[in-house]
């Protein structure tokens, strides 16, 4: 039996809660995983000690994990990890690291897995228009989409062993232009509310932000909105040439539902659409469709949400 290894996902220096989903995914593939925590400060591993179903925790300490260089990440992890099948979360950084780690070990990488049935792995292909199931022989590196597997429980107690590692960093950050807003990124959020050309003006995105603040959502946009208005940055774009999101709830406001937009959000667990055109394609994909202008619907929505959650 090969080792199962889960690499904890880091988010702003802490362990991302979806790490618990990776433990469940590892069990679906082949057994109790070793949890590896990349860190600069091993104390962050304390927060996962109680995860159920892990055999041990290795905190791999290295300065490289403070940066974004994937060569540094992959080489430091490689030096500290036993051989085996490795699982990590399908975020853009971890997908890069996964690809490097697999190449380093001469094994294959399977990205964006949404179902695991023993060694059969299913991922979306053609922007989610179909699914592909592959069978894996031998070790592989697998990235798993967030919000697909249930989280492992919390009744364990695992010791943490700390390993120091160094990595081979090949790129150097010159400067970081801070994101203007402190808003949540669409690819990290459990709820996303996006606006399209139907919002009429970039100023009207303030109405989406108000809803987002009430329910803890990130604000996204269609490409038409990004292309039309300079104020709406490309980092907000959801879709084929934007970000792929997989939240529990996606709210599309004034978005027609073009195939390229669907490519980025169709796997969301629940979809709400607000559009004045009853024939808009987005309604075919919505769990809850509201045929109305956003001017009519959003204030009511906002008030109901505030009353419910306030």
């Amino acid at each position: 039996m090969t080792n199962m290894i889960v690499i904890a996902e880091l988010s702003k220096g802490n362990i991302h809660p979806s790490t618990a989903e990776l433990v469940t995914a590892a069990h679906a593939f082949g057994g109790e995983p070793i949890l590896v925590v990349p860190c600069t400060d091993a104390s962050i591993a304390d927060s996962v000690q109680s995860l159920s179903g892990i055999s041990k925790i290795i905190a791999v300490k290295s300065d490289v994990f403070d940066g974004s260089d994937s060569s540094g990440w992959a080489s430091a992890l490689d030096s500290a990890l036993p051989s085996g099948t490795v699982l990590c979360l399908a975020t853009s950084r971890s997908k890069d690291v996964a690809a490097r780690l697999a190449a380093r070990r001469n094994i294959s990488v399977v990205q964006d897995v949404i179902r695991i049935d023993g060694t059969n792995l299913t991922s979306p292909i053609y922007s989610g228009k179909a699914n592909q199931t592959v069978s894996v022989s031998g070790d592989a590196v697998i990235t798993v989409r967030a919000n697909v597997f249930d989280s492992a429980g919390n009744d364990g107690s695992c010791d943490v062993s700390v390993v120091d590692a160094s990595g081979d960093v090949k790129t150097a950050v010159q400067e970081i232009m801070q994101r203007a807003s402190t808003r949540l990124d669409v690819s990290e959020a459990n709820i996303v509310i996006s606006g399209g050309r139907g919002m009429g003006s970039p100023a009207n995105f303030a109405h989406l932000e108000a809803v987002a603040d009430t329910i803890g959502a990130a604000v996204g946009a269609s490409r038409a909105a990004v292309d039309t208005w300079d104020e709406i940055p490309h980092s907000m774009q959801v879709g084929q040439t934007g970000k792929t999101v997989n939240p529990n709830l996606y709210i599309a406001v004034g978005i027609s539902g073009a195939i390229q937009h669907l490519a980025g959000m169709r796997s969301s667990k629940y979809i709400v659409a607000i559009n004045k055109d009853a024939d808009a394609a987005i309604f075919q994909h919505a769990d809850y469709g509201i045929v109305a202008t956003w001017e009519e619907a959003l204030p009511v929505f906002q008030e109901a949400l505030s009353a419910m959650l306030g």
Partner: protein, 247 residues
């Protein structure tokens, strides 16, 4: 003078309807095109050439039908077009594909490789970083802008914003949609491309450890509920909490 390689892949038109026949995707009546992000990779590669001289070679791993996208690349302005193939290959997993690319790129003596951030069929985004690892090179992914000198300074999104990152060469750079226009072929380019010869190469590929078991359509969503009028938004808010349990 840098030897610049740009990777291009043929994929189904992203507007095409995808159908599954039996347990395999049937692409027989689907129009094939260059994967959209590869157009940004070509544009960035040509800009690199314009800033520093050098040559751009477009490279694809694929059967004879994929020569069309090489001709498209030629029409846009690359210098050389290379196709790598061996009739014994069928499904190439990431390990096999990257081995082939790595061998070919070393043979071409490349200083820098541009590719798409992900291919429109796989959506994987494995090739750029995986290839860089095999070559022992640096890489940058999701690149939206680049400035060229002895190294390439790329712009890419990171957790805290957009970073400018100095990437020493040799390196592999995976391109996202940048905030620039990609050039389209002109008449002269199209004429040149017609006459251009595709250079055919081969390479060794390790056996794939991944096999395709099946393709399937994503499970159809149960038809949703539709409401008329803005006032219904409060009902939807209730359902999101009580029925969908997402609030």
């Amino acid at each position: 003078m840098p030897t610049i390689v740009v990777l291009v892949k043929q994929v189904p038109d992203t507007n095409a309807k995808i159908v599954v026949q039996g347990d395999r995707v049937d692409l027989s009546s689907v129009k094939m095109v260059m994967s959209p992000y590869d157009e940004f990779a070509i544009e960035t590669a040509i800009r690199h050439k314009e800033a520093t001289d050098g040559t751009v070679t477009a490279l694809t791993v694929g059967g004879p039908v994929s020569e069309k996208i090489l001709k498209d690349a030629k029409a846009i302005g690359v210098d050389n077009i290379v196709r790598v193939w061996d009739d014994s290959w069928s499904y190439l997993d990431s390990n096999a594909l990257q081995s082939i690319l790595s061998e070919t790129i070393q043979g071409l003596g490349a200083t820098v490789v541009y590719c798409g951030k992900s291919a429109a069929d796989t959506g994987a985004g494995s090739t750029g970083p995986g290839l860089a690892e095999r070559l022992g090179w640096g890489n940058a992914s999701n690149v939206i802008g680049a400035e060229f000198s002895d190294s390439v300074v790329v712009s890419m999104p990171v957790e805290s914003g957009v970073a400018k990152i100095n990437v020493a060469l040799p390196a592999v750079i995976s391109c996202d949609k940048g905030d620039f226009k990609v050039r389209k072929p002109n008449v002269k380019g199209i004429m040149m491309a017609k006459k251009a010869k595709v250079e055919l190469m081969s390479a060794t590929a390790p056996t794939s450890s991944i096999n395709i078991a099946s393709h399937s359509m994503p499970p159809a969503k149960p038809t949703g509920k539709t409401f008329e009028g803005g006032a219904s938004a409060s009902q939807v808010a209730q359902l999101l909490r009580d029925e969908a349990n997402v609030l």
